[in-house]
C-alpha cells in the first residue's frame, strides 16, 4: 500500500480511542469513507476498546442509583425501529462495499465515519447546550427564590386585607341599617381642627371616622365612647386605616335609646375602663 495509506493506518488506533485532533480526525474520516481495509482494521481496534473497558473491575453502585437511573431512562422517548437512511454525498464509493458486506454478514450498513463525527460534534454541542441549560436553571432558581419571597409578602398583605375587609363589612352593615343615626362630633380645645362622624344603629353597631386629630405618641391611642344613661361605655380603640383615616367599627352595647352622646379621648394604647380627661371630640345625639 502507498505511503499515504500507511499514514492513515497510523491514525486508526488513535481514532478508535478518540485521541486525534480535529484536523487528523476529519482527514481520516474522509479516507474511511472509501477504504474498506481501514474500516476493517478500525473495527478490530474498536473491539480492543471494548476489551479495555471490560478489563476494569466491577464496582457496585450505590443502592439508590438504581431507581433514579431507571426512572430517568424510561422517561426518555424510545427511537423507532426503522433506521433512517442517511445519504452522504461522499459515500457512493462505499455503497457497493456495504452491499457486499451486508449480503455476507447480514449486518446493516455501517455509518462509522459520521457516527464518530456526529458523536464528537454532539459532545461539544451537548456541553455548550448543557451550559446554556445550566444558566437557565440558575435564573429559574433565583426567580423561584424571588417568587417565594413575594408569596410571603403577599400572604401578610392578604392577612391585613382580611382584617380590613372584616372592618369594612361591619361598616357597611352599620351604614345600611334602617335605624341609622348620624352624629357629628366637634373638636374640643385640645384638638380644635378635628372633625368626627359617628353612625349608630341599634341592630348593627357603630361606625366612626375622624380626621385631623393630633398624632399621638406610640404608647397612646384614641378611644371611642358612647354616653348612655349618663355613664361612658367604651365602643373600642380607634385605629388608623390604610388610607390614614381614623376609623372604628364596633358594636353598640347599650340600647340606642339610652345613648345621648359620642365622645373620643386619648388613652394608653391598650385602652381604659373609664375615659381620661380631657375629651378630644364630642357630639350629642339629636333629641
Amino acid at each position: 500500500m502507498s505511503a499515504a495509506h500507511d499514514e492513515y493506518a497510523l491514525l486508526l488506533s488513535g481514532y478508535a480511542l478518540d485521541a486525534l485532533d480535529d484536523r487528523e480526525r476529519r482527514r481520516l474520516e474522509d479516507h474511511l469513507r472509501t477504504c474498506d481495509q481501514c474500516q476493517a482494521e478500525l473495527e478490530e481496534f474498536r473491539r480492543v476498546n471494548a476489551g479495555l473497558g471490560m478489563a476494569v473491575d466491577d464496582v457496585a453502585p450505590p443502592a439508590e442509583l438504581r431507581a433514579k437511573t431507571l426512572a430517568r431512562a424510561t422517561a426518555v422517548e424510545q427511537r423507532l425501529a426503522e433506521p433512517r437512511t442517511f445519504i452522504s454525498p461522499r459515500s457512493s464509493g462505499r455503497r457497493a462495499a456495504d452491499r457486499r458486506r451486508d449480503d455476507s454478514s447480514g449486518r446493516q450498513p455501517r455509518a462509522l465515519v459520521w457516527f464518530a463525527a456526529a458523536a464528537s460534534l454532539a459532545a461539544v454541542i451537548s456541553a455548550a447546550y448543557a451550559w446554556s441549560l445550566r444558566d437557565q436553571l440558575r435564573t429559574a432558581q433565583s426567580t423561584v427564590a424571588d417568587a417565594s419571597q413575594r408569596a410571603l409578602t403577599l400572604a401578610r398583605e392578604l392577612e391585613s386585607l382580611r382584617t380590613e375587609s372584616a372592618v369594612l363589612t361591619r361598616t357597611v352593615r352599620v351604614l345600611i341599617a334602617p335605624d341609622l343615626l348620624r352624629v357629628d362630633l366637634k373638636g374640643q380645645p385640645t384638638a380644635p381642627n378635628a372633625i368626627g362622624r359617628a353612625f349608630l344603629s341599634a341592630s348593627n353597631g357603630v361606625f366612626f371616622n375622624a380626621h385631623d386629630l393630633p398624632a399621638l405618641p406610640a404608647d397612646k391611642a384614641y378611644q371611642l365612647w358612647v354616653i348612655a344613661g349618663g355613664k361612658p361605655v367604651s365602643v373600642g380603640m380607634i385605629s388608623v386605616d390604610a388610607g390614614g383615616a381614623l376609623t372604628l367599627a364596633g358594636s353598640l352595647e347599650p340600647a340606642l335609646s339610652t345613648v345621648t352622646a359620642v365622645a373620643v379621648t386619648a388613652e394608653p394604647a391598650g385602652g381604659s375602663q373609664a375615659p381620661t380627661m380631657p375629651i378630644v371630640l364630642i357630639g350629642q345625639l339629636p333629641k
Partner: protein
C-alpha cells in the same frame, strides 16, 4: 463470568427493552450496572459524575434499544462503549468547567444535520476482555501508561504529549504499538 454464560439472556432482555419493558431494563441494570459504574469510576474523578454516567448510559440504552442489531454482537460490549463515550463527554465538559454541577445531555437531538446513526454492534466476549486485560498488564510500561491516559482519561495525543513531555510523534507510535499488541490478543 456468570454473566457471559448467558449472552442470549442479554439479547432477549434488550429485545424486551426495545419493546418498551422497563422491567427488562431493570434486569439489564442488575446484570451490568457494576461493570458500567466500575468503568465510569475509573474514568471520572467525581462520584456524582460517575453516577450521572450510569444514568446517561441506561437512558441511551432505553432510547436506542429498538435500533440495536444484536444478532451477532455483545450487549455488554455495546454498553461498555456507551459508558466510555458518556464518560469522555463528562470528562471533557468537566475540564472546561472544573467547579460546576454538570448535566450532559445524553440525547443530542440539537438540530444536527445528520441524526445520530444506529448503535454499532461490537462482538466481544468476557473471554476476550480477559485476554485484553492480560495483554494490557504485559505491555511495556511506557506503552501502557500512554494508552491508559488515552483510554481511561480520554486525553488526545496532543494532550498526552503536553502532560507527559513525551514528543507527539512518540506518543502516537507507542499508543499504536500498544493497540496492535492488544489487537493480537483478540485475534
Amino acid at each position: 463470568m456468570a454473566r457471559d454464560a448467558h449472552p442470549d439472556l442479554d439479547v432477549e432482555l434488550l429485545r424486551q427493552v426495545a419493546a418498551g419493558s422497563a422491567e427488562a431494563l431493570g434486569r439489564l441494570y442488575d446484570r451490568h450496572a457494576a461493570k458500567v459504574y466500575g468503568l465510569a469510576r475509573r474514568m471520572v474523578a467525581r462520584l456524582e459524575d460517575a453516577e450521572e454516567v450510569v444514568q446517561d448510559v441506561f437512558a441511551q440504552i432505553w432510547r436506542d434499544a429498538p435500533r440495536y442489531r444484536h444478532e451477532r454482537a455483545s450487549v455488554a460490549g455495546w454498553m461498555i462503549m456507551l459508558t466510555r463515550t458518556r464518560a469522555i463527554d463528562r470528562l471533557r465538559a468537566r475540564r472546561a468547567r472544573p467547579d460546576q454541577r454538570m448535566t450532559v445531555d445524553p440525547s443530542p437531538s440539537l438540530g444536527l444535520v445528520s441524526d445520530e446513526p444506529d448503535p454499532e454492534a461490537i462482538t466481544i466476549s468476557a473471554q476476550d476482555a480477559r485476554q485484553v486485560r492480560a495483554a494490557l498488564e504485559a505491555l511495556p510500561a511506557e506503552q501502557r501508561s500512554l494508552l491508559t491516559l488515552a483510554y481511561y482519561e480520554g486525553l488526545s495525543h496532543s494532550e498526552i504529549a503536553e502532560k507527559t513531555g513525551v514528543a507527539l510523534g512518540t506518543v502516537k507510535t507507542r499508543i499504536r504499538s500498544a493497540m496492535i499488541t492488544l489487537r493480537e490478543a483478540l485475534a
